[in-house]
């Protein structure tokens, strides 16, 4: 059976690397059965670099794999990513952004419907808030631009993958720094887990390694709302 197993590749945003490595282990998939290659998470701020970055990896690696999953949302590429994936017979995760598939489409829509001025953070974005948001937007050099960037935002929504009080406090601090309200939602791995699980099952990759026992903690619901 293992000799017949397909070789699959995930090309992912660096912001999802840790989560995908965790899920791969958790689903009991051997590293060599599902290879992970990442692009810099900084592309989050420069979406025009995503499709060329993915294409470079596809050019090099597509022929070596039976199936390729691109762990990006549409991510502001203006359709360029989807056009590219058709060309290379690859597929991506559903939704516009990573925070959408972490939250799940319905919950994401509900949050945005309730408050259109929602600025989303995930575990990765909280951990790297200073590098990706503060430095990425130039707020370290020009803090006065904060109001220019965030004028229309009302709240920071932290879609937490893991329960981590230190990260939660850091996210609250980020909201305060941006002078926004704070909403905490423990969403787990959301559709990333669902999609990845479906992918490995379709490819028969499950059980190629020892399966993690913490499965049911992947989706969960906790919520706090703080006005800063």
């Amino acid at each position: 059976m293992s000799a017949q197993r397909h070789k699959c590749l995930i090309i992912a945003c660096g912001a999802l690397a840790k989560e995908i490595v965790y899920l791969r282990r958790h689903l009991g998939v051997a590293d060599e059965a599902l290879t992970l290659k990442c692009l810099p998470a900084e592309f989050h701020n420069t979406p025009q670099k995503i499709a060329p970055g993915v294409e470079a990896l596809l050019k090099e690696h597509r022929k070596h794999y039976d199936r390729v999953l691109v762990a990006y949302g549409e991510c502001g590429t203006g359709g360029a990513l989807d056009t590219l994936l058709k060309q290379y017979d690859a597929e991506r995760l559903p939704g516009a952004h990573c925070y959408e598939f972490f939250a799940g489409a319905a919950q994401f829509e509900q949050i945005v419907e309730a408050e259109i001025g929602s600025f989303f953070l995930t575990d990765y974005l909280v951990k790297n808030f200073d590098r990706l948001v503060i430095k990425g937007l130039g707020l370290d050099r020009y803090p006065e631009l904060t109001s220019v960037y965030f004028n229309n935002y009302k709240q920071v929504v932290y879609l937490a993958q893991n329960e981590d009080e230190a990260l939660k406090q850091k996210a609250l601090g980020a909201a305060r720094q941006l002078d926004l309200d704070f909403l905490y939602k423990r969403v787990g791995y959301g559709d990333l887990a669902t999609e990845l699980e479906a992918f490995v099952q379709e490819e028969g990759l499950c059980g190629s390694a020892h399966k993690d026992q913490q499965t049911r903690q992947l989706k969960t619901k906790d919520e706090d709302h703080v006005s800063c």
Binding site: T77, A96, R141, N151
Partner: protein, 228 residues
């Protein structure tokens, strides 16, 4: 472009002062641009000449360097802030001047579901600099807002902006509605925003695609026959 020695703006002749204001705007030095404009006004320069030959011209260079990857968003926003300061001095003079007539009316707004307005505001500023009367509808505009503004202001051009891949299709919906009401054949519609491209603008039947703020203002003048 900053020099180590302090430059006394009042000591410069007109040509050097104009060059210095352009340099200062490029460097995002709001106070210096403000002072430079003040000196030119004291020297009896016409407000519309200061606007077009100094501020807009400097911002045009900023736009080119942004397009070419020399300047980045935070720097462009600093430049825009400096230009805004200079324009703030000129606006009341231009408004009070009998000689100053608008070259046309431009209604602009970010589409429904989208709260991003940095690009739209830059375009609005460049349009104003190019002599347009700009009616800014702000963010998150449903089709009804555009229709009401068209009815009220009778614009020469309608501009729509979107930053999100999820909201840009709404532009097509507005254009369809304008077509149904026989407004489209009389009213050119310009679209713009980071994820857009010419292909998308063509697909939704927009009159033009504004790639950046400076180019949008140039195109707008061409559309109303002021660039021949």
């Amino acid at each position: 472009m900053s020099d180590e020695e302090d430059i006394i703006l009042r000591d410069l002749n007109d040509n050097d002062l104009v060059d210095q204001i352009k340099d200062d705007l490029y460097d995002g030095l709001k106070d210096e641009v403000f002072e430079g404009v003040e000196i030119l006004l004291e020297r009896k320069w016409e407000a519309n000449l200061i606007l077009s030959d100094v501020l807009v011209e400097a911002m045009r260079i900023v736009g080119i360097d942004f397009r070419d990857g020399i300047l980045f968003v935070p720097e462009v926003l600093q430049c825009a802030g400096a230009m805004k300061g200079g324009m703030g001095q000129l606006r009341p003079i231009l408004a009070a001047s009998d000689a100053q007539t608008s070259v046309g009316k431009f209604v602009i707004g970010t589409v429904k579901g989208d709260i991003h307005d940095i690009g739209k505001n830059l375009v609005g500023m460049m349009l104003e600099g190019a002599g347009f009367e700009v009616i800014d509808l702000g963010i998150n505009n449903p089709v009804e807002n555009y229709l009401a503004a068209i009815d009220e202001h009778k614009p020469d051009i309608l501009g729509m902006s979107a930053l999100l891949t999820t909201t840009m299709p709404y532009m097509g919906l507005v254009i369809e509605e304008l077509d149904k009401r026989n407004i489209l054949k009389e009213l050119p519609v310009m679209v713009g925003g980071a994820p857009l491209n010419q292909e998308f603008a063509d697909a939704i039947n927009a009159h033009s695609y504004g790639r950046d703020a400076a180019m949008s203002a140039e195109m707008a003048r061409t559309i109303i026959g002021k660039n021949s």
